[in-house]
Symmetry: C2
Subunit: 325 residues, 2 copies
DNA sequence: TCCTTTATGTCAAACGTTTGACATGTCAAA
DNA sequence: TTTGACATGTCAAACGTTTGACATAAAGGA
């Protein structure tokens, strides 16, 4: 690979001059600029960002740690984050923690060694303390780890409330709520809180089912839904904490001869595009994934630039009513 | 951030000694090793990979360019690639080209500036020539760029043949094939070749529909399927080039009162997990996504290590029969 | 006693770039 | 004629690490 020295040699100028052209500093005549650009394209020169980063103490790298990029929600989130990162000149290092604490720790160390300018934590399997003394610029998703660490989430309580009240308003009398692992202390628990408040207030029967400890194992969803509907054949409403789970719920209803939404009404969460692949299409709570991506990058950029950021960032959710209610 | 000098100071040894501990070279006594490790953990030291990479001329970074990580196929592919990359000590820089040639070019330049050790090209919107004089280590997906550039694909012809013959064997007499943009010169065209061979040999009616130029726009799929089934109400078989398209086909059939598989049989492609969310579950051609990931990383590693690699790498596909046939 | 092995140190160069300090021009305006 | 803006150059240090050359010294065996 050509270096700045090669460019200088070929253009017949000094290295300093090339650097000045490259960084738009100092006085440069148009003719010199032309010669330099000419030499650069002739040599196919690409400045070595490793050397630049080393000197500038800034890599323009952002680390993204999520449970699994093949989960539709995180896939879309990753796509949006990468989109905005690219717009602002950042690059994304992708890490799938698989909800494995050891892997998560290793990834964090790797990102530190790589001198990323910031980390977006979409996976949280470690204790709050470990994140606290990380001393990296952080943005977290759906988890509050400290007063000084900005988090990003949506209005989970409102989402839970909208979903549950929709089911209630449609006349559901026995509603099941399928949520993630409540021990992980995520803000998405507010959905469950809202669910509980609503069903108790309405005085209807309800159930809460937690999915696996280690997250997103789809194989389990089927069995879980099957035994749920077997044990409680009179369930007439399901509020699932993701569209993927809702899709499995829908499947299981159809398989067992229940019609949706007549016999059972279903509300999902996220509004990933898969929600529209189902028949009937899933009613769901739309998470502002694009907004998440934009804000995550912005919050990191602000920190990198040493500007103050707000630590609590809750975006709005929206009920999207489709065919399953 | 602590440097190797700080560690040396705290441990009371020389920088060289610390480096020797870090890289396991030369003689080191156990006591010294202990002191060094102690100092490192006390200072929370993480060696600066930028500096290392600069010196070693090896970044352990791999670039991954795909159209869109939120598409289920590429999401899974990205996850698998990242998994194997991590196992072999590589990190993944994620790039979504959105099938935009300008973006793709920019990403390639960015990756070169970042001195990635190799690039995995899952998006191909540029002319072959541009990839040729790239002079980076490459692995491409589903596109042959040159004799000296390894590509990775599955047995597309066999996939197309399996899918079409299944439909024929079930008695379909008018089969539509929905494929990607045939002008892009991808190896996935072999699926279409196989389809044509099979339907012609069987002497049944057939149609070929290309999706949009700019790839994966789901909004279009619905309209496309709708007009297809309206214009040809007697279609009794559909072979779609992705499960996402197949899911939309299934939806449209159900919406228009056709029963699947009785009236229309559908075969998808990829076998992403979404294929099992549909009801009935999609019959599909399974692509070896895990194998793709493993091989992509291996092919790059071999090149990086200067070892010879085979340039043609075709993995096997498999017919997965489920509910839509 | 001498040689080897083990253990550690010093020193300097290298990776590719940026940046500041400073020198040396040319050219035009005051 | 002087001044200042413009244009370019030289030189060296810095970023954090690795590595080779070389020195030193203790411990152990022959």
């Amino acid at each position: 690979m050509a270096t700045i020295h090669d460019v200088a040699l070929k253009a017949g100028v000094s290295v300093t001059t090339v650097s000045r052209v490259l960084n738009n500093r100092g006085y440069i005549s148009e003719t010199t600029r032309g010669k330099v650009y000419g030499a650069m394209s002739e040599l196919n020169y690409q400045p070595n960002e490793l050397a630049r980063s080393l000197l500038r103490k800034q890599s323009n790298l952002l680390g993204l740690i999520i449970p699994d990029v093949s989960h539709p929600f995180f896939a879309k989130l990753a796509e949006r984050i990468e989109y905005y990162a690219d717009q602002e000149g950042y690059k994304i290092l992708l890490c799938n923690s698989q909800m494995n604490p050891a892997k998560e720790r290793d990834y964090i160390d790797m990102l530190k060694r790589s001198r990323v300018d910031g980390i977006i934590m979409g996976s949280h399997t470690l204790d709050i303390g470990e994140y606290r003394n990380l001393h990296s610029r952080l943005v977290t998703f759906d988890r509050k780890i400290g007063e000084d660490i900005p988090y990003l989430s949506s209005d989970n309580y409102r989402g839970g409330k909208l979903a549950t009240e929709l089911l209630l308003s449609k006349g559901c009398r026995k509603i099941a709520h399928i949520c993630g692992n409540l021990e992980l202390d995520m803000l998405s628990q507010r959905r469950t809180d809202a669910f509980l408040d609503a069903v108790r207030k309405a005085g209807v029967e309800y159930l809460i089912v937690q999915t696996e400890m280690n997250g997103l194992d789809e194989a389990r969803y089927r069995g879980l839904l099957q035994s749920l509907l077997e044990a409680h054949p009179d369930i007439d409403g399901i509020f699932a904490t993701s569209d993927v789970i809702a899709a499995y719920a829908l499947k299981e209803c159809i398989r067992t001869g229940r019609s949706v939404p007549e016999d059972v009404r279903i509300v999902g969460y996220d509004d990933v595009s898969a929600a529209r692949w189902a028949t009937p299409e899933l009613t769901t709570i739309r998470q502002p994934i694009d907004g998440f991506g934009r804000e995550a990058v912005r919050l990191l950029r602000m920190q990198i630039e040493g500007r103050p950021v707000s630590n609590q960032n809750e975006l709005a959710v929206e009920l999207v009513e489709r065919g399953t209610t």
